[in-house]
């Protein structure tokens, strides 16, 4: 039985006890998947599982589990998605007992941005792509009556290159085989490149980038770890902490807020950057913070259900922070 068939079977069995199970279905064209809310058995037929299933569905949990109508939620989770649930559980942000996880092993997801860039480089128009097949480490795209083939590593999401948790953890169900843990890179290539820049160039880089942010907050709202939802300080009117003005400085300020509030919580799912309509490389901030937390607290968010997140505990004397030396 394929992973998808197993997944459908598991959902079919569990559905009578759940109000909704969230997975993915085919979106508005061949290149896109979209979240699917399964409420009735018939909906299960629409479920898909492929590298198009990019969305981290845990982002719906904080909203749904507060709703009076929905008590029991099922979620299909990839490895990275499951880390969000682990972290949210540790923070007691979701009633974990009401959540049923259907885990899968994941060999990586497609980066639409990278694929579109490749396709254009190849002299095609992106809108002429009309079918996509994932064939092991190759991606085949039907475009302009021909077929273009790409190495998956060149068109996958950057997070998948460094992924150490491809198999969903701490789930109630697991469909298909576990995939081998084989990160291709130690560190994200974009961060490696960025860190080589001298400080003034980094500043110039962000000035050039942050200008085009429209403050749509797609990065925030798609983040499974952003739990304040309607009460984010960036949009609160009273007090009016952050200016409405979408200027380089204010946009940067908002990214700092997001990054700081995600310290020790960000599970590097990359959803913030994927969601950004103007493709801002904001994972650079998140990854920098993730590395800082690892170095300082030796902690990896959402990786171990038994661990205590560093910001939920207190040590009079931190191992790696020389407070007296200040």
């Amino acid at each position: 039985m394929s992973t998808l068939e197993q997944l459908k079977e598991q959902i079919r069995k569990a559905l009578p006890d759940l109000d909704v199970v969230i997975g993915w279905e085919q979106g508005y064209d061949a290149m896109h998947a979209t979240p699917l809310f399964i409420r009735e058995e018939a909906d299960i037929d629409r479920l898909i599982w492929s590298p198009l299933c990019v969305h981290s569905l845990g982002t719906y949990l904080t909203g749904l589990t507060k709703s009076s109508k929905v008590q029991k939620v099922g979620l299909v989770v990839k490895g990275c998605d499951s880390r969000a649930i682990v972290q949210l559980t540790q923070e007691r942000m979701i009633p974990r007992e009401n959540v049923t996880l259907f885990g899968v092993g994941c060999s990586g997801c497609l980066s639409h941005a990278r694929l579109e860039y490749k396709v254009e480089q190849g002299g095609h128009y992106v809108e002429d792509m009309h079918a996509i097949t994932f064939n092991g480490d190759k991606v085949e795209v039907a475009v302009d009556g021909g077929v273009e083939s790409f190495d998956f590593d060149t068109v996958c999401l950057e997070k998948c290159l460094t992924c150490r948790f491809p198999n969903a953890i701490a789930t109630e169900h697991f469909a298909g085989e576990e995939v081998p843990v084989a990160p291709k890179r130690e560190k994200a290539p974009s961060l490696e490149a960025f860190e080589k820049l001298p400080l003034d160039e980094r500043f110039a880089f962000w000035q050039d980038q942050m200008r085009r942010c429209v403050r749509c907050y797609a990065c925030r709202n798609t983040c499974p770890m952003c739990v304040c939802r309607d009460h984010c300080i960036s949009t609160s009117r009273n007090p009016h902490w952050v200016s409405q003005e979408a200027s380089t400085a204010e946009n940067f300020m908002f990214q700092m807020i997001h990054t700081m509030h995600l310290a020790g919580r960000c599970i590097e799912c990359g959803e913030c950057q994927r969601a950004c309509p103007v493709d801002l490389p904001i994972m650079l901030f998140r990854r920098t913070m993730v590395h800082a937390v690892k170095d300082t607290f030796n902690y990896v968010s959402g990786a171990d259900p038994e661990a205590t997140p560093p910001l939920l505990t207190f040590k009079a004397e931190e191992d790696n922070i020389n407070e007296r030396g200040w």
Partner: protein, 357 residues
């Protein structure tokens, strides 16, 4: 008025010349995406694709300063403060180059609201009257394009001053208004001559790329039939994450917010784009919000475009079919599918739902 021809190479020179007199907004590579930016001399505009952001920025900027203010404290009596206010009406003339027909046509949706008998918004009108649109006819039809469903087409010149039609080696520039015609009075242009026939072919060919048009006739009533059916809207909005991508990128979304942004004793009154998908939209001072959930808010976005607005403005749909809200939505919410769901709605055997409020 006569159609002219301009070569690809001369386009940049023409924009250089225009930018001596006007603010020229043109699509440009902004790192990895194409957005409208003030033209920089010598920089080639990117005219072969739909920019990610809408051209409304030219007339209805995301940040518009309405006035500046300054408080003065009376040194004799610190309880007494006086305030000086300085209005900042837009003065510049501008040319927006490189919008698609859908994006330019989006301005007509604004005009009916901000420049009508009842309301003449001086900031909007000030810019609108001083801004010309040089639109590029589409040759690249995307899966999210549906201008033809909402009464338009890939070479629609409505609201444009000039329409550029891509032909071999450059563009046939078709003047649409007198002021547009004047823009073509420049040494960079030659008479179009036989190229006009090629332009007509290009238009024809690209129109034919679009699938059969969907019929939205009567969709307003169908949507209003579902108005109180919150279960319908909960289903449609389930995957929406309440961000601002769809509204900020939409060429026809015209809601705004006004805030005073102060630093010390000085500040500015700012008008910024508002977003009906956000919890803060219509949030009242008391803390009450008549649109408390994303279901209520998505209902507002869809109905505003396909029901309320047409009802107020002689049937005009307030969506130009550009597809940005579909293409850039992080979770691929498809406004077309929502309207269709209302159009084809058949009640389920055991309806559930009701108003969550």
């Amino acid at each position: 008025m006569e159609a002219k021809f301009i070569s690809h190479d001369d386009t940049t020179g023409w924009l250089d010349a225009l930018s001596e007199q006007h603010v020229v907004l043109a699509p440009m590579w902004d790192n990895t995406v194409v957005t409208f930016r003030p033209h920089v001399k010598g920089r080639t505009p990117v005219l072969d694709r739909m920019p990610v952001l809408p051209p409304k920025e030219g007339v209805f900027p995301q940040n518009e300063m309405l006035l500046k203010y300054k408080y003065d404290k009376d040194p004799e009596n610190l309880d007494r403060t006086s305030v000086q206010v300085k209005e900042t009406l837009p003065q510049d003339t501008a040319v927006v180059v490189g919008a698609r027909p859908c994006g330019t046509r989006g301005m007509t949706v604004f005009d009916r609201v901000y420049n009508c008998e009842k309301i003449r918004d001086p900031y909007y009108v000030g810019r609108r009257e001083n801004t010309l649109f040089v639109t590029v006819a589409c040759t690249r039809i995307e899966s999210t394009c549906f201008c033809h469903d909402v009464g338009s087409h890939p070479a629609d010149a409505e609201a444009s001053d000039v329409l550029l039609v891509p032909v071999a080696g450059g563009y046939v520039a078709e003047p649409v208004t007198e002021r547009g015609n004047a823009l073509l009075d420049s040494p960079f242009f030659a008479p179009a001559g036989e190229r006009s026939a090629e332009a007509a072919e290009v238009k024809e060919k690209n129109r034919a790329k679009l699938p059969a048009a969907h019929d939205y006739t009567g969709c307003g009533e169908k949507l209003m039939d579902r108005f109180n059916d919150l279960a319908f809207w909960e289903e449609q909005s389930a995957k929406c994450i309440s961000c601002g991508a769809c509204t900020y990128l939409c060429p026809t979304c015209y809601c705004f917010n006004i805030t005073d942004e102060s630093v010390g004793l000085t500040g500015k009154r700012l008008r910024t784009w508002d977003n009906c998908m956000s919890f803060q939209f219509t949030l009242e001072g008391s803390g009450h919000n008549p649109r408390p959930t994303k279901a209520h808010r998505l209902r507002n976005r869809v109905n505003h475009k396909f029901a309320y607005y047409p009802d107020l403005h002689g049937g005009a749909i307030a969506c130009c079919g550009c597809g940005r809200c579909i293409k850039s939505c992080p979770v691929s919410v498809d406004i077309r599918a929502i309207v269709r769901a209302a159009q084809t709605y058949t009640p389920k055997p055991a309806p559930e739902g009701g108003d969550e409020r």
